[in-house]
């Protein structure tokens, strides 16, 4: 009897030991885990670093403008797109006084940004005061799927304040062909 009780006890103990192994049942989907405090603290630090880098980037942009492109010689040329246009832009080239100053091939992401109303600064540089000639050409695909190339020229006068020129590619309604509108801004 004693040995039987001992055996029973042993079996109970054995089962008690073994059973926890099999006690793992897949729980219901747990709640989102609490982030470790250290990660949350680092979130704050990362934010601070980003802020620092942002400030430095801003100072750098400002320095670049003041140092390399002082106002009395500064000229910026921007390219914009008529919104909802289905003209597919591929590239643009700029010449000032017959010298190529800028060329750019557009990615689909950039074209998308233009079509949503963004404006691309194609050229930031320096020209002397006086009269100059700007020649721009764009290459792309029109609404009919055919390649197009459009050129435009502008004679402008550079004075002391910075010069801003916007080249706006528009779609001519009648023939769904691209054309330019050139604006000078102050």
């Amino acid at each position: 009897m004693k040995s039987g009780s001992a055996l029973l006890l042993l079996l109970v103990v054995a089962f008690a030991i073994i059973n926890p192994v099999f006690a793992q049942k897949a729980p219901l989907e747990p709640r989102p885990e609490q982030l470790q405090p250290e990660y949350r603290a680092f979130d704050g630090k990362l934010g601070s670093l980003k802020d620092t880098v942002l400030t430095l980037s801003r100072e750098l942009v400002q320095l670049e403008k003041d140092l390399l492109f002082p106002g009395n010689t500064q000229i910026s040329v921007f390219l914009s797109f008529q919104s909802k246009s289905i003209l597919a832009l591929q590239s643009v080239q700029l010449k000032i006084d017959d010298t190529v100053v800028s060329s750019h091939i557009y990615s689909s992401r950039e074209i998308d940004a233009l079509q949503r109303g963004g404006v691309h600064r194609v050229f930031l540089g320096n020209v002397s005061e006086g009269t100059h000639n700007l020649a721009a050409s764009v290459i792309g695909t029109d609404a009919l799927g055919q390649d197009y190339r459009r050129n435009t020229t502008l004679t402008f006068k550079k004075d002391t304040p910075p010069k801003f020129i916007e080249l706006s590619v528009v779609e001519v309604v009648q023939d769904r062909q691209p054309d330019f509108i050139v604006k000078e801004w102050q």
């Binding site: 099999f22 670093l49 942002l54």
Partner: protein, 622 residues
């Protein structure tokens, strides 16, 4: 940035452009309009840092240093997208304190609520969500509903009113997930029947099952597995079996379902039937915890069926497999601890600095024990931190390079101003003086010629040469006549002389005019030299002081960039160590689990021996 956020920005911009304040007229409206649209150009490409940089420059250039309300909303959105939550919060709080049109859009509140939730700021998330007034559509509606459910669960709020949530037709993947979370949320909130009903609906077979995506099929398996284990937990094995039976045999939840099925059958007292799924499970990859458990459940069942010998064999086999796996894990841990997880991760791409989700998936493929990492918030957050630090580092390295360019430019400018300009001025003075001298001489001579009508003074070199020849002949005419029969040479000489003089005389007016034009040209050249001199002097005057200022600015900027880089480098090292430690911890946890199972196997064998010994003793006695 989600498309809806971009749509919001686009919507704002179309009403924004006419309303931009330029401060106190310091920079004109038009130029700012272009600058602002340039910000949008980068925003739409999700280049948030570039967009924010340009926006900050615009802000700085306005006299007041402020943007108007629309601009502030854009700034808030950009800061939020870039991860500057505190800044975004401050902007939105400021906008809330000064109510007025336009209001912070509902879409912005939703994005803010999602960010807060991801940061585990539950109260703030609920606060942001409470500002939403209009119903959303499409993915935003699903986001809103999902977030609402999660917040209710986390805040232990009542989820009783099922009409509050759109249970929908569970027609697409997001709705399935949404329903699943709702179901589990209800169960956790003690609305068991409602929760089970939803999970049951998700897991129910459909006629067009084959047409469902793998993701939905997997979620159905998940729902059925969850319900199966729920019923197993509450000791309703019959019901549990009915759910486990619905789980596919080739899915992500197959192993768990096989394990659960075995336990359900065991609980029903049917150890023999329980063996079938467990034996099937044993064939799986030992990295799966269900498979690990099956190495113990099979002998457990065999023991229950009085097949102690086979049970013993199975336990020994389990011990062998556990030991092998523990050793394999240790080797992996050693490699990672020696080389770091990131280095060992991208050994084939030493220049790669960012860890993508695909990298993690690839790592999991190589090492299934790390499967949990792909969904571990802490780990993924640490990876994000690592990646963001590297992006910041690259930005600063680019800045360093640019500063080098500016430094060179400034050095060239200084060289021009301090060394070259004086030389140029000296040359200019010298040329001016020479030219002035020549000018005076020419003026005097031309005045004399004009006054005396001295045409001969304007003859060409050819004419001079011709006259000299004629004079030479004339001087030697006597000798020449004696030697040659030249006829009336003297007459001929007079005629030639006359023709030349006649030409000179006829050309006098035009030549005088040309000479005067040459004089004017020289005067113009001298004026040009004078202008150049003034330009150089002005340039020096304007820029000499500036170069020092720029020197200081560049030096200061360089210092700040270097400091920031050092800090970031240090943080990258820390993050790298953290990631390595995290991965090692996961592997060590797996190792511990295997070691525990190993212990159980040994214990079980010891128990079997003991039982056999006692049984043997008993038989001997009999």
């Amino acid at each position: 940035m989600c498309p809806n956020r971009i749509k919001l920005v686009y919507f704002l911009v179309t009403f924004l452009l006419p309303a931009i304040s330029s401060g106190d007229g310091d920079v004109t409206l038009d130029a700012h309009d272009l600058y602002f649209r340039e910000v949008l150009y980068y925003l739409y490409q999700q280049q948030y840092q570039t967009a924010l940089t340009h926006l900050e420059v615009i802000k700085q250039e306005t006299k007041s240093g402020q943007l108007d309300r629309d601009g502030e909303i854009i700034a808030g959105e950009l800061n939020l997208s870039y991860g500057l939550l505190n800044k975004a919060e401050n902007i939105f709080e400021k906008l809330l304190r000064t109510p007025g049109p336009p209001e912070i859009p509902d879409e912005t509140w939703l994005e803010l609520a999602k960010v807060y939730y991801a940061q585990n700021s539950i109260e703030k998330s609920a606060y942001a969500l409470s500002h939403i007034h209009k119903p959303f559509t499409g993915t935003q509606r699903e986001d809103y509903e999902q977030l609402n459910i999660n917040l209710h669960i986390d805040q232990d709020r009542q989820l009783t009113n099922s009409n509050k949530f759109n249970q929908g037709t569970a027609a697409d993947t997001r709705q399935y997930y949404s329903q699943y979370n709702l179901g589990t949320g209800l169960i956790r909130n003690n609305h068991i029947n409602e929760g089970i009903k939803i999970l049951d609906e998700i897991g129910a077979p459909v006629t067009d099952h084959d047409l469902l995506s793998d993701e939905i099929k997997s979620l159905k398996d998940k729902a059925n597995t969850t319900l199966g284990f729920y019923y197993l937990d509450i000791h309703n094995p019959q019901k549990a079996v009915s759910y486990f039976e619905k789980v596919r045999l080739n899915g992500a939840y197959t192993n768990k379902a096989l394990l659960g099925m075995g336990w359900s059958l065991a609980e029903l007292g049917n150890l023999k039937d329980a063996l079938a799924p467990w034996v099937e499970l044993q064939k799986g990859d030992i990295s799966d915890t269900a498979v690990q458990e099956s190495l113990l459940t099979v002998p457990y069942a065999l023991n229950g069926l009085k097949a102690q010998h086979q049970a013993m064999e199975q336990y020994n086999d389990a011990i062998g497999r556990y030991k092998k796996e523990i050793q394999s894990l240790q080797s992996k841990i050693d490699v990672i601890q020696r080389n770091g997880w990131i280095s060992s991760n991208d050994g084939s791409h030493p220049d790669k600095h960012l860890i993508t989700y695909q990298d993690i998936r690839d790592e999991v493929l190589d090492n299934p024990y790390l499967d949990s990492l792909a969904t571990d918030n802490d780990f993924l957050r640490a990876v994000d931190h690592y990646n963001e630090l590297n992006i910041l580092k690259q930005t600063l390295l680019d800045a360093q390079w640019n500063i080098g360019v500016y430094h060179l430019h400034l050095a060239n400018k200084q060289h021009l101003l301090i060394e070259q300009a004086p030389n140029i001025l000296r040359n200019n003075y010298a040329r001016s003086a020479d030219s002035s001298k020549i000018l005076e001489q020419l003026k005097t001579e031309l005045t004399r010629i004009a006054n005396t009508e001295d045409a001969l003074a304007l003859m060409t070199e050819k004419e001079q040469s011709q006259l000299r020849v004629l004079k030479l002949v004339n001087d030697n005419i006597a000798d020449l006549s004696r030697l040659f029969n030249l006829g009336r040479l003297d007459d001929k000489l007079r005629i030639y002389h006359g023709i030349i003089l006649w030409d000179i005389t006829m050309e006098y007016d035009s030549r005088l005019k040309n000479a005067q034009q040459t004089l004017a040209g020289l005067e113009s050249k001298i004026a040009g030299l004078s202008q150049q001199r003034n330009d150089i002097k002005n340039f020096r005057q304007e820029n000499l002081g500036d170069t020092d200022k720029f020197d200081r600015q560049i030096a200061l900027l360089q210092e700040k960039v270097d400091t920031a880089l050092n800090e970031i480098d240090s943080d990258i090292t820390i993050q790298t160590s953290k990631l390595t430690a995290y991965v090692v911890a996961v592997l060590k946890a797996q190792q511990s689990h295997l070691t525990a199972n190993l212990g159980y196997a040994y214990t079980a064998i010891a128990q079997l021996y003991e039982v056999a010994y006692i049984t043997g003793l008993k038989e001997d006695k009999q």
